[in-house]
């Protein structure tokens, strides 16, 4: 199962995403923003970071890079695409997902171990969770505030397109505590927190059991491997 991770100039968590795919048992493939084909991958991860410095708007410039037209095509044909943090912002800027992401309401970058509820398991990226499962994965962003107009928000909620919701603490002022979304078809998912930082014991969030032992993010990568095998 080949899962591609696109590196844009300024991507930071690309190597972490590649590692997560490997730990989940997949074949991790590095893709470059200047590529014009997807090298036969079965699914794509847009990793976290600050593509092009995120200067104009987060993800704005990356959304126009050469490989993105391929990604948009593939996504429209049903290929599983996951956007993590900056990747989520890129998907939003590319209009593959709804709404917008703006500066955190408190004005600063924040890194914390974030509790989430999995609201929708009907996607290739979340099928390995149970409906309503509570997970803890790291969050780290400066511009993670999700906004949308009322109409969009109602549609997202009404159609069950909210995939992850912040629990206990809303770390950035996101409307309706939205942490992650899917498209109508379900193959495209984006979220602000970082599942790839909770995949390896010893390097994840603390849990009651042991220091740095949290691996709640692994299921996201395992889900897609299973989903692509089944499809």
């Amino acid at each position: 199962m080949r899962v591609g991770v696109i590196t844009f100039p300024g991507s930071l968590d690309d190597r972490d995403a590649l590692r997560a795919i490997r730990l989940a048992g997949g074949d991790a493939v590095s893709l470059w923003h200047g590529d014009t084909d997807l090298h036969g991958v079965d699914a794509i991860v847009l990793p976290g970071g600050f593509s092009y410095g995120d200067y104009l708007r987060c993800g704005a410039i990356a959304a126009h890079s050469p490989i993105m037209s391929e990604v948009i095509d593939a996504a429209n044909k049903g290929m599983p695409v996951l956007g993590i943090c900056n990747g989520f912002q890129i998907l939003v800027e590319a209009h593959l997902l709804a709404g917008g992401l703006i500066r955190n309401d408190h004005g600063t970058f924040v890194r914390r171990d974030q509790k989430l509820r999995v609201e929708n398991i009907d996607t290739p990226w979340t099928s390995g969770y149970t409906q309503g499962q509570e997970i803890t994965i790291p969050l780290k962003n400066g511009e993670g505030g999700f906004i949308a107009d009322d109409e969009t928000l109602n549609r997202l909620e009404g159609d069950g397109l909210v995939v992850f919701r912040y629990l206990e603490v809303n770390p950035n002022g996101s409307l309706n505590d939205i942490a992650g979304l899917r498209n109508a078809r379900g193959n495209v998912v984006g979220l602000m927190p970082h599942p790839e930082h909770a995949v390896e014991p010893g390097f994840g969030p603390d849990t009651p059991a042991a220091m740095s032992s949290g691996t709640d993010g692994l299921a996201m990568f395992q889900s897609v491997l299973r989903a692509t095998v089944l499809s």
Partner: protein, 82 residues
């Protein structure tokens, strides 16, 4: 070289937390006349050569596609600087 100014503001109906925070900060200094602040962007684009109507059309396009995100922002003006 001529410059084109593009101005982008967050959509009125949407949240502008940075503007809110700034308004609060200003209210702390002042006498209560300031009721709201919204923060947008001002692009100064330097042009090589002449600013033709065609170029302005083109800039209008990139302003909409790249310089702003039309889901959350509006391009409120495009003009040649004097």
């Amino acid at each position: 070289m001529p410059k084109v100014i593009v101005e982008v503001m967050p959509k009125e109906v949407l949240l502008d937390p940075a503007g809110k925070a700034t308004a609060r900060a200003l209210q702390r200094f002042g006498d209560g006349e300031i009721t709201d602040v919204r923060i947008g962007k001002r692009f100064e684009i330097t042009i090589e050569g002449e600013v033709t109507p065609k170029l302005l059309d083109h800039i209008a396009e990139v302003a909409k596609d790249v310089l702003s995100n039309d889901v959350i922002e509006d391009v409120i003006s495009i003009r040649v600087a004097d």
